[in-house]
């Protein structure tokens, strides 16, 4: 028998049962992935096909005469306006959410017990189905001349996302040891420097997560946009829906705009997944 090198202990040989389990696990994973990815993939392929090719029989999976026309045309028939409006509404409402939410979250984290009534009440605002208040908002917006304005939609998205932002940030701030703040007070930092120099840098991952989630929710929101805006403000989900109004939609353009709608989210989620997971499992250890 040859001696075993000390640095390489012999690997346990996997038993047949273990191998089978691994294989089954992967089969299930791949099947699920296909199920979820298929529509996305189809969307992507459709976006590059000329209109006529969409109705080939039997259907071609890959584009035969690949084209970018859907993207340029999609931009002009509403995609461009949709992207622009969605960007305006989502980013401004997110900014307001963070500016208002951070101080509120700080107060909630430091002055109120965790998982208390107040914390629950705030979060419960987010749990309400949006269909409940939408008619009320419609009437209110008509009265206040907010109907079909950027301001109106920004207010609505702030209302929609603020509870989540407050809740997420307060859970995050709760994890920051108080001694940092006390050290800053001892060092003589006035409240705004305490906030700017110490609290904000320490809670940056939480702020980033809350911001991204708020952005995504506003970007995807359809119901409020549909009911509370008209010709003037047309966000991306509404622009997409408008394809289905009078005639057979141009599926190619729809695919192109759909990719514009989904793409940024996919890219952000991919790069942010670690930070997102960390914020949700809230753990400051190891920094």
């Amino acid at each position: 028998m040859s001696p075993i090198p000390a640095s390489h202990p012999p690997a346990d040989r996997a038993s047949f049962g273990e191998i089978l389990r691994e294989v089954l696990k992967h089969v299930v994973m791949v099947a699920l992935l296909l199920l979820f990815l298929c529509p996305l993939l189809w969307l992507l392929l459709t976006a590059f096909k000329p209109y006529a090719e969409l109705f080939n029989s039997p259907p071609s999976v890959l584009p035969v005469n690949g084209t970018l026309a859907n993207f340029t045309e999609g931009w002009t028939v509403g995609g461009g306006k949709g992207i622009g409006d969605s960007l305006i509404v989502a980013s401004l409402s997110t900014a307001i959410c963070l500016v208002l939410g951070f101080p509120a979250a700080y107060a909630l984290a430091r002055r109120f017990p965790p998982h208390g009534q107040l914390s629950f009440t705030i979060l419960s605002l987010r749990m309400m189905p949006p269909i409940v208040p939408v008619i009320g908002f419609y009437l209110l917006f008509q009265e206040l001349s907010l109907f079909d304005t950027y301001t109106g939609l920004i207010i609505i998205y702030t209302f929609m996302n603020l509870p989540l932002v407050i809740w997420l940030l307060s859970e995050f701030i709760r994890q920051i040891p108080k001694s940092y703040e006390e050290a800053a007070r001892i060092d003589g930092a006035p409240w705004y420097r305490l906030f700017w120099d110490v609290l904000l840098p320490l809670s940056a991952p939480g702020v980033l997560t809350a911001g991204i989630l708020s952005m995504i929710f506003a970007w995807n929101e359809f119901l409020f946009a549909l009911v509370l805006t008209g010709e003037n403000v047309i966000t991306l989900p509404k622009a997409l829906a408008s394809f289905f109004l009078f005639q057979q939609p141009n599926w190619g353009q729809l695919g192109a705009i759909g990719i514009a709608a989904v793409g940024p989210l996919l890219i952000i989620s991919y790069y942010m997944q670690r930070s997102l997971i960390r914020s949700f499992s809230i753990e400051l250890g190891g920094r």
């Binding site: 006390e182 050290a183 007070r185 001892i186 060092d187 003589g188 110490v198 320490l202 920094r287």
Partner: protein
């Protein structure tokens, strides 16, 4: 630099927790003062009130005779070193140290000079561009101390600054902190639960328990003349042995029962026997001797009681023997030229000069031991920790 006076300080948390009860004490200018007590004794609350992080429920705090209750930590010009999580994790050591100066709006050249000076003083110049996560616990605390000292504070508050470090490093930083404080002359208050830290570093110290100030004095005073059984037990390298002796009679030699065992008592204790024939004795482990059973004859100026060895522990230059006497145990620190087996029957002896007497009801000290250490019996206490 300042002298600090606390007058009748009380601290309530809510309506139920009376954390600090009527504490009054004076800390002299330039003094290194210790607040010692077990957890929950209120020592940290006192420090936080001194620093201005918390306000007293009642009473007044004076810096150089001027009330400071309404003043912020900055206005009091306090510096503080926290137990842990003290450094801003997103800043380098240099940024941490210069932060209080930046807040005060000092010029960059001025800041750099001061940071370099204090970094040299604490031997952290080579760490100056590292973040907290790239430093060891001891290095982090050094940087925290540097940040505290960089602005010449009136009062330096140390909240268990070295409690989280390992033993060797703790011993080293103890010495360093003491030297540093001496050379700077900054009035300093350290909170600690470790009697060794309090003894070795401070000029004077206060022992607290349940929010009540027990005793204020130098380490030597508190060690040799503790006001009550608690202070005697809490303060010292090894906890003092408390021996509750019952049924004391004189026939004609003074005798009683400890742990159910017949105990010979020194005649000198006769005046201290309480009306219900009880004696609460205290004896430091260094004042006890252990002999094989029957080796020593009872004498009129010695305490002597039979027990059996529970365990004996080598401490290098001495032996710590735990002896079981009925349900009670006592510990003796003796020269390590003797060996005892587990459960070996032994006699425990103590010279009357090593015995404290406490009131069995109030626990207050009735009689101080004429000598803390009995030469020839135990070793002089050496610092192990």
């Amino acid at each position: 630099m300042a002298s600090v006076t606390l007058a009748n300080i009380n601290k309530w948390y809510g309506h139920t927790v009376h954390a600090v009860r009527d504490v009054s004490l004076t800390i002299e200018d330039g003094e290194f003062f210790g607040l010692l007590g077990p957890s929950g004794s209120g020592k940290t609350s006192v420090l936080r009130m001194l620093a201005g992080l918390e306000s007293a429920t009642s009473g007044s705090i004076l810096f150089d005779g001027v009330p400071v209750e309404d003043k912020s930590p900055q206005e009091r010009n306090i510096a503080m070193v926290f137990e842990q999580n003290a450094l801003y994790p997103h800043m380098t050591a240099r940024q941490n140290i210069s932060y209080p100066l930046k807040i005060r709006g000092l010029s960059k050249a001025n800041i750099d000079a001061k940071v370099a000076e204090v970094a040299g003083m604490l031997n952290i110049a080579h760490l100056i561009d590292r973040r907290a996560s790239q430093m060891s616990g001891g290095q982090q605390q050094r940087v925290a101390i540097a940040r505290a000292l960089v602005r010449d504070p009136n009062l330096l508050c140390l909240d268990e600054p070295i409690a989280h470090l390992d033993t060797l490093l703790r011993a080293r930083l103890r010495g360093e902190l003491k030297r540093l404080q001496r050379s700077l002359g900054t009035t300093s208050v350290i909170v600690t639960h470790d009697p060794i830290e309090a003894m070795t570093m401070t000029d004077r110290l206060a022992v607290m328990r349940d929010g009540i100030l027990q005793q204020v004095g130098t380490a030597d005073e508190i060690h040799s003349r503790p006001v009550n059984a608690f202070v005697a037990q809490f303060f010292g390298l090894h906890s003092i042995n408390l021996m509750s002796i019952e049924g004391v009679v004189e026939l004609p030699r003074l005798m009683g029962r400890f742990g159910g065992e017949t105990t010979h008592l020194p005649t000198a204790l006769r005046p201290n026997v309480s009306s219900d024939a009880k004696l609460l004795l205290g004896c430091r482990p260094s004042g006890l001797d252990v002999r094989r059973a029957g080796e020593a004859k009872p004498s009129a100026d010695m305490l002597q009681v039979r027990g059996k060895v529970y365990v004996s522990e080598q401490l290098g230059d001495s032996l710590l023997v735990t002896v079981q006497i009925g349900p009670d145990t006592v510990q003796a620190l003796i020269p390590n030229d003797r060996k005892f087996g587990i459960d070996e029957p032994v006699d425990v002896l103590a010279d009357e000069a090593a015995l404290y007497v406490f009131d069995p009801k109030t626990q207050g000290t009735v009689r101080f031991a004429p000598r803390t250490i009995s030469p020839g019996l135990g070793n002089p206490p050496a610092v192990y920790a």
